[in-house]
Amino acid sequence: MSKSQQGDKQGGSSTMLRNGLIFLGIVACIYAVVAVFAPETAGGAFMASLAVFRGVIFPLCLVFAALVLTNLFLRPHQVARMLGRGSGVRGSALALAAGILSTGPVYAWYPLLGSIRRQGGGAAQISVFMFGRSIKPFLLPAMAAYFGIAFTIILNVLIAVGAFIVGWITEKLPVHEDLQ
């Protein structure tokens, strides 16, 4: 990685940190307002947040490990080849498979997805990954128990098709110069 690329990456991280702190500050203000007018709701919300946070820890560890491994072994040109704009249907299929296999909430994956985008990953492939995340093989029995086998199969097949369509349309939109 060249010095200018390292500089860009550090600049992007500091911007993300600054924007993230502003966002967290806004959320804290919302909590403060809720705490004044509905203290019970604020307390319940905080407890619910703690429960959500406990559920995020494991996937975050997975994402952190994946980040370390990709930074160690994958170079930007390799990422661009596998998941970049020119990777075509194969890249989208790879992104769909990764999305299906991914665990935890989507926001735990933002650091890795942002890193992949900065290394040349295509907007289409990131979109396919994010849409494909709604297919969860280990949850299919539960889904079938609630909605029936036919609906479960049809819905998940349509989601896979929809992921490719969303990815294809995203690629056509002006989103490529969007990332700092």
Binding site: M16, L17, N19, G20, F23, L24, I26, V27, A28, I30, Y31, V34, T41, A42, A45, F46, M47, A48, S49, L50, V52, F53, G55, V56, P105, V106, Y107, Y110, P111, L113, G114, R117, A123, I126, S127, M130, F131, S134, L139, A142, M143, Y146, F147, G148, A150, F151, I154, L155, L158, I159, G162, I165, V166, T170, L173, P174, V175, D178, L179, Q180
Partner: protein, 129 residues
Amino acid sequence: MLAILPILSGVVLLVGLLRAAVPASTIQAVFGGDTLRDTLTGSFLGSLLAGNPINSYIIGGQLLEDGVSLYAVGAFVVAWVTVGMVQLPAESIALGRKFALYRNGLAFVMSIPIALTAATLVALLGGIS
């Protein structure tokens, strides 16, 4: 990785607030019976709420028991994971503002034909068995 922590914390706190502020009974009360409007409502609610997909199945199952259509429930389940209004600020920061807006908009729109097609095909096959 460190840079994303404030965003993650903010999203987790917002998800907790939403869970505490919007009970399941409120969700059930907003469906009126019109297929298209209920499908749109399902997509909108799914976009607004967040959490493990299993929660969307549980709420969706409850909605079905309460007489809400499979069209609306399907849209709700698809939008639950694919669209994230609560996470939109965080997604914008991490992946770009235009990207996040377009992607979420497209996912919202896509959840509607997916749900309509899936529920129609199931109805043609004889309904949920």
